[in-house]
């Protein structure tokens, strides 16, 4: 088996050694339950609250506004369902506005709410999808048209997981405040957190979701920032942890991991973003030069520095993945369903890319660990694989 050439950092990232080191004491010796009253509990609580303060500093919020969750999906679900459920308590119709390119962790709960998730007694939920432009950025004019005072939730991701497009979030927030003053504004910052400073990029949002494993932290832990006492109905009921917003004994080691990963990402964010962005540009330029007809889906300047999403005409993404996997090159081709089968991409469809062109979609996503040698390997392997499939 060839060495791994891992270019799938948008799926998940390796845990950074400093993160693993910070977590280690809580995975073993310091095992206390942070809700307890004795000194074993106090040690765990200290770590948890220090982690909360650290996350708050990285995210630009107060510690009390940080809700630890079991990952990005839970944070998104809590944001969407928790907000809509709280708004629906008044018993009148509430509306939600999402972009057409949201991650399923936002899209599916929003759709479920619109289909009656809250049951027969709940108020009806109307869902409106804001279209995007061909580069994946939200159509602000169309968004304005969807916003009105009945809107209780606006959810627009900071950066897209598939194609990497960074959204003009400040404009989205401004439009929401102007036209839907009662709306809670949520952003799924899961994909962006590795590259953007959330304390500024997501500053205007009421709710911000992050996940540790996308930026060198462990899987299974994330956080939802809920600013200024944003009303949320909890999804998990029980012991009332996380100020009644998320019951369940906290994942102390995970919280420490998330805090450490967020803090470390901030240390050299700009330098690392520039380095990885240059490697990504080299990959994109090289692929365009080497593969006839290959199109870069989103220009680098509009995307996160690690994302290089391309469309390869005349090649099938499933077949490309098999050939690249055999070479040890780990890339992705879009979103999979639970079975692992690739599904038609709602993101590409929303960008106006037809099903035929989407068949040749490949996503390279670079990270902190990516080296120039790996880019050279990809630049050798991809044209060879495409060549084989075209003949």
């Amino acid at each position: 088996m060839p060495d791994l050439c891992y270019l799938d950092h948008a799926a998940t990232t390796p845990v950074r050694p400093e993160v693993a080191e910070a977590m280690a004491p809580f995975a073993a010796g310091r095992f206390g339950n942070p809700s307890g009253g004795h000194r074993a509990a106090a040690a765990a609580r200290l770590a948890l609250e220090e982690a909360r303060e650290s996350v708050a500093e990285s995210m630009g919020c107060d510690p009390g506004e940080v809700v630890f969750t079991g990952g990005g999906t839970e944070a998104d679900n809590l944001a969407v369902l928790g907000t809509l459920a709280a708004a629906a308590e008044a018993g009148v119709q509430v509306d939600a506005v999402c972009s057409a390119v949201e991650h399923p962790a936002v899209r599916e709960p929003a759709r479920a709410a619109a289909k009656g998730w809250f049951g027969a007694g709940g108020a009806p939920v109307g869902l409106r999808e804001a279209p995007v432009l061909p580069d994946g950025t939200i159509d602000l004019q169309a968004l304005e048209g969807l916003l009105e005072p009945t809107v209780a939730l606006v959810s627009v991701m900071l950066a897209n997981n598939e194609v990497g497009t960074v959204q003009p979030l400040a404009e989205v927030v401004a439009a929401a405040r102007r036209r839907a003053p009662r709306a809670v504004v949520h952003t799924d910052a899961v994909q962006a957190a590795a590259w953007l400073d959330l304390s500024t990029a997501a500053a205007g949002c009421d709710l911000v979701s992050v996940s540790a494993h996308k930026l060198g932290g462990p899987k299974g832990v994330g956080a939802l920032v809920a600013r200024g006492g944003t009303r949320l109905r909890p999804l998990l009921l029980g012991g009332g942890q996380e100020r009644d917003r998320r019951s369940g004994t906290q994942n102390v080691a995970g919280a420490v991991g998330l805090a450490t990963a967020l803090r470390l990402a901030g240390v050299d964010r700009e330098a690392e973003g520039a380095r990885v962005g240059a490697l990504r540009d080299r990959l994109a330029t090289g692929l365009v030069a080497a593969v006839d007809g290959l199109v870069v889906t989103v220009p680098g300047v509009r995307a996160l520095p690690g994302h290089c999403h391309v469309l390869v005409p005349g090649a099938d993404r499933e077949e490309l993945l098999v050939l690249l996997d055999a070479e040890g090159i780990c890339v992705s081709a879009g979103s999979s369903c639970a079975s692992g089968a690739l599904e038609p991409s709602h993101v590409l469809a929303a960008m106006g890319i037809d099903g035929g062109a989407a068949r040749g979609a490949l996503r390279f996503s670079l990270g902190r660990a990516t080296t120039e040698a790996e880019i050279e390997r990809a630049l050798a392997a991809v044209p060879a694989a495409v060549d084989r499939l075209r003949h």
Binding site: E319, V322, L323, D325, S336, C337, S339, A341
Partner: protein
């Protein structure tokens, strides 16, 4: 040899993969996602995919999932529905083998540089004793599990690139081998029926959601009314269920179905019996050399029917040596060599 093995998540294809690994081949597993809707193994057959992936891990081979659900819908499910709307009874497993497994997947395996495709079917591919360099498709060693019927449309090009590793084993020995290797599929029940139709819903429920079903009158061979059926599209030639008994007390069988005329004609068994079956033009395909008109053969008209003596007529048509229950239009007739009754000669679809 580099082999792509189609792993359904069942025990046969698990063991097929295991045997190929044991034989020293370079093996990669692939599971097809064919049906996106609800099924008895969960949405998108997630449980089956997980089983296949786990077996691949246990065998130490790579595993991929190929989403062929669009092709499956277009070339298997939609025609299945359309054929019923015309009063015909197609075999979706055969159409899936024809269009998906031994066309799209086989072609994909070639493009990806594999020397062969393997499946877990119970059938055998052997050298043709009469024609060096060519192959014959024979029944599996386990006569109770033989699947040569559903492979009967394969030609020489396909047989040359296909491997059936469990064909010379009994089902019991396949299960025993899986258990010996500790594969989680060892005790999994055999798959039943059509994969895209849930047992709880049945053919009626599935087609009822896809088609407008129409009531029809049931008449005897003289045109006299004897009853009604709620959905003419669900009635199959040869069916006796729901057709009741004649005045003489004997069971009635469906002789013909006229969907546009909303009419089902029934008769007693002796009246329903037929001596010939016509094949739809262009559907008769031969594994090797065509049998000449008038040649004797054995005909099998469904996956578990007993093969019966016949001659191959022009048209093309099959003439049975003894009268048979009528064969529903759309069914596949597999022909086996009279002098090598385990070997498939060819197959066609009834007109």
């Amino acid at each position: 040899m580099r082999v792509l093995v189609a792993m359904s998540g069942g025990v046969d294809s698990s063991v097929a993969a295991a045997l190929l690994v044991e034989q020293g081949h370079d093996v990669v597993g692939a599971t097809l996602k064919l049906w996106g809707g609800p099924s008895d193994s969960g949405c998108c057959s997630v449980a089956d995919v997980e089983d296949a992936r786990r077996v691949a891990q246990q065998l130490g081979i790579s595993h991929h999932v190929f989403n062929m659900s669009e092709d499956f819908e277009a070339s298997v499910v939609a025609p299945y529905v359309a054929e019923h709307a015309r009063g015909r009874t197609p075999n979706p497993c055969i159409e899936c083998n024809r269009h998906i497994k031994f066309d799209r997947l086989l072609e994909r395996a070639r493009r990806l540089g594999f020397d062969a495709l393997a499946t877990g079917h119970h059938a055998r591919i052997v050298p043709d004793p009469e024609r060096p360099g060519r192959r014959r498709l024979r029944r599996g060693a386990d006569t109770g599990k033989d699947q040569s019927y559903v492979l009967s449309m394969l030609g020489q090009d396909q047989l040359a690139r296909l491997v059936l590793p469990v064909g010379d084993r009994t089902k019991a020995s396949v299960r025993a081998h899986a258990a010996h290797l500790g594969l989680r599929t060892a005790g999994k029940p055999d798959s039943q029926d059509v994969c895209f139709i849930r047992a709880a819903e049945g053919r009626e429920g599935f087609l009822g959601r896809r088609l407008a079903l129409h009531p029809a009158e049931v008449v005897d061979l003289d045109g006299g009314p004897v009853g009604t059926v709620p959905a003419v599209e669900l009635v199959t030639v040869g069916q006796r269920r729901g057709m009741g008994h004649g005045d003489d007390g004997r069971r009635r069988y469906v002789v013909s179905v006229d969907v546009p005329g909303r009419r089902v004609t029934v008769g007693g068994l002796d009246q329903a019996m037929t001596g010939t079956v016509a094949l739809a033009a262009g559907t008769l395909r031969w594994v090797g050399d065509p049998l000449p008109p008038g040649a004797r053969a054995l005909a099998q008209v469904s996956a578990h029917a007993r093969p019966v003596g016949c001659t191959v007529g022009r048209g093309p048509a099959i003439r049975f040596e003894q009268p048979q229950r009528p064969v529903a239009p759309g069914q596949t007739v597999a022909l086996y060599h009279a002098d090598d009754p385990d070997a498939v000669a060819g197959a066609g679809v009834t007109a």
